[in-house]
């Protein structure tokens, strides 16, 4: 393994972690498909932010795309509550529309945005080492994506640690949470913004669909074994890391998409875990 390989694996791991942590709460709240919707919906946000700001500067892209992610949650809730559209159809309707608009924009403005249809789907994690930066001039230099992902990871860890009781109780027993004065709506939106941010940051590396694999896969595996939430969060991270390492090895061996391989490894890990669970638990 040379240093490029290591950077790719590290970036993949950082991305896996920022997805796994909020992903645990999504899975527990039965909102995995809302995660799917958000991860698709950030595409038009990214493209529009590119086009308006004229740069790939993360300072513009991140808020723009995260706003698109929030928009999709609000729109889905509005369709369900105001127009009484059933939940599956409202999710499906909203995200396909936003993603379609995103793909059209990408195709129409490929030259301006550096994005193309393929990168929208598989991400461009293989190119991560070619975009290095350091925080201070001449200082330690690492891939730009890795910096961003680690920054977000730090934020997420802080938010989840500080907001642990709020997130925990509003997920497990919203009625009781409200009764003791915890705002369920507030924590709902905190979670949704974490998911949106995670989706945006991961999108460039692994593409829309595979963000879903990282959001739901490791938490789903962890939930087979974990009997407490802290353990579930930890296990989800461990499985996310495993999936990245093995996924990368398979991808290099087959000379195929890295993000796709990570998703396949997640599937294999899940299948394995099911077998182990059936036999030993």
């Amino acid at each position: 393994m040379n240093s490029n390989d290591l950077w790719i694996v590290f970036t993949a791991i950082a991305v896996a972690l920022i997805c796994a942590l909020p992903g645990c709460f999504l899975v527990l709240r039965r909102m995995a498909m809302v995660g799917d919707a958000i991860s698709h919906a950030v595409l038009p946000g990214i493209v529009i932010a590119y086009l308006l700001s004229g740069s790939r500067n993360t300072m513009y892209i991140l808020p723009g795309a995260a706003a698109a992610g929030m928009l999709v949650t609000v729109l889905i809730e509005w369709l369900q509550k105001r127009l009484r559209v059933q939940s599956d159809a409202s999710i499906g309707l909203v995200y396909t529309l936003l993603f379609a608009i995103g793909v059209i924009l990408v195709t129409a403005f490929t030259a301006q945005t550096d994005l193309d249809q393929e990168c929208v789907l598989y991400g461009e994690i293989a190119y991560v080492p070619f975009d290095m930066m350091s925080i201070v001039d001449g200082g330690f230099s690492a891939p730009r994506q890795l910096w961003i992902a680690s920054g977000l990871l730090t934020v997420l860890i802080i938010v989840i640690t500080l907001g642990y009781r709020g997130l925990y109780l509003s997920t497990f027993d919203p009625g009781y949470a409200t009764a003791i004065g915890i705002s369920v709506v507030f924590w709902h939106y905190i979670l949704m913004s974490m998911v949106s941010l995670a989706a945006v940051v991961s999108f460039e590396s692994v593409g829309a669909v595979l963000v879903v694999a990282l959001l739901t896969g490791p938490p789903a595996i962890a939930s087979l074994f974990a009997k407490r939430l802290p353990l579930m969060l930890l296990l989800a991270c461990v499985f996310g890391v495993l999936a990245c390492v093995f996924g990368y090895l398979i991808a290099s061996f087959l000379n195929a998409s890295i993000s796709g391989s990570i998703a396949v490894v997640i599937g294999v890990l899940y299948a394995f875990s099911l077998v182990i669970k059936k036999i030993f638990f």
Partner: protein, 431 residues
Amino acid sequence: MGWISDFLLLNDPTLRVVVPGVLLLCGMSAAVGCFTFLRKKSLIGDAVSHSVLPGICIAFILNGEKNIFYFLLGAMISGLASVLIIDYLTKSRFARNDTAIALMLSVFFGLGIVLLTYIQHQGNASQAGLDSFLFGKAASLNKDDLMIFGISSLLIFLLIAFLLRGFSLVSFDDSFAMSIGFPVVWLKSLLSVLTVWSIATGIQAVGVVLMAALLIAPALAARMWTNSIIKMLLLAGIFGMLSGYSGAFVSYALPQMPTGPWIVVMASVIAFGSLLLAPRKGLFSQIIERNNNEKKILQENILKIFYHIDEKSGETQKAVLQEDLLNQRSFSNRNMRKGLRILERKNYLSNHLGAWSLTSSGRVEAKRIVRLHRLWELYLQEYLHLDPDHVHDDAEAMEHVITPEIEAQLDVLLGNPTIDPHQTQIPSKDE
């Protein structure tokens, strides 16, 4: 602009394949989508459409060239596999349904991507265009494809026509269907197969990523306009074909554009349009209905005031000065003016030199309203044990929806009363 008329008149021989092909695909998927929609399983359709990708790639690897027949077979197998796995995970309670769907969708799709990139890097010349399955490319349809689509849509159409009763009952209430001896398991499995089948064919035009929209959007749009399942199927088919037609147009006009996103945007525009515009259930008609309700309440309340004035003064159709009316507590001046104007137009009130009075038809109407109000108050007191001084507020809005049938029931329940909780006379029904 000759190319537009070329498109519309199907002057190009490829158009004569592409346009009917896309219409068949989209119409068929939309019709099948109605059942997935009604069974609230739209997201399974989403999972299936992503899951067919590895099947297509494996078919290509095994066969070494592009062949629609093998593609369909591969797509069917991997699509059905993901349905079965999702079912198993959910039933065995290893994962919640939403997690199972999201997981299978992304894992199967990931496998598809791995295989696709693997094939691309092999440098097999005939793989070119395999990635058009991702976002769809209507222009790549050929005559063989068209024949297969023709046959399969005919088959699906016949199946739906023959089994319509079973399919609708299973979608609506499967335990009842089971209790009257319908082969529920078979019908459900058949529906799943049809769903996978229509997705496997439809991805040619729309692509695996956005195919779910073609199942969901037309069905949702159609549901807004009708309550009958047959009409819903037809409407959804038409909406689907409209979307497909626009996609084919884009494919013709802008060959570098994938067709899928355009079909989806068009289908979504139809769906959102229906959500806004459909009669009764649509957003606009709800807003209009609410406004009408407010107007109705306003008019009836003003009529009530006139009746009270008559009652107090002992005269009938007593004239009241507009200024006095404007001083009424519970109305804004603007509303009062608006209400008076409407009532005058309806010939319930007449206006002589700034003084208003009930017309004779207005008096009949006012009496009807006051009667309902007082009956309702009495009902609330007798049956809900509400204090007379609390009754008024809650009776306020409800009396406006009381139908003659409910009025008759109230009359019987209360024993044809004549006095209300405030000890005033309840006007009799006819006089």
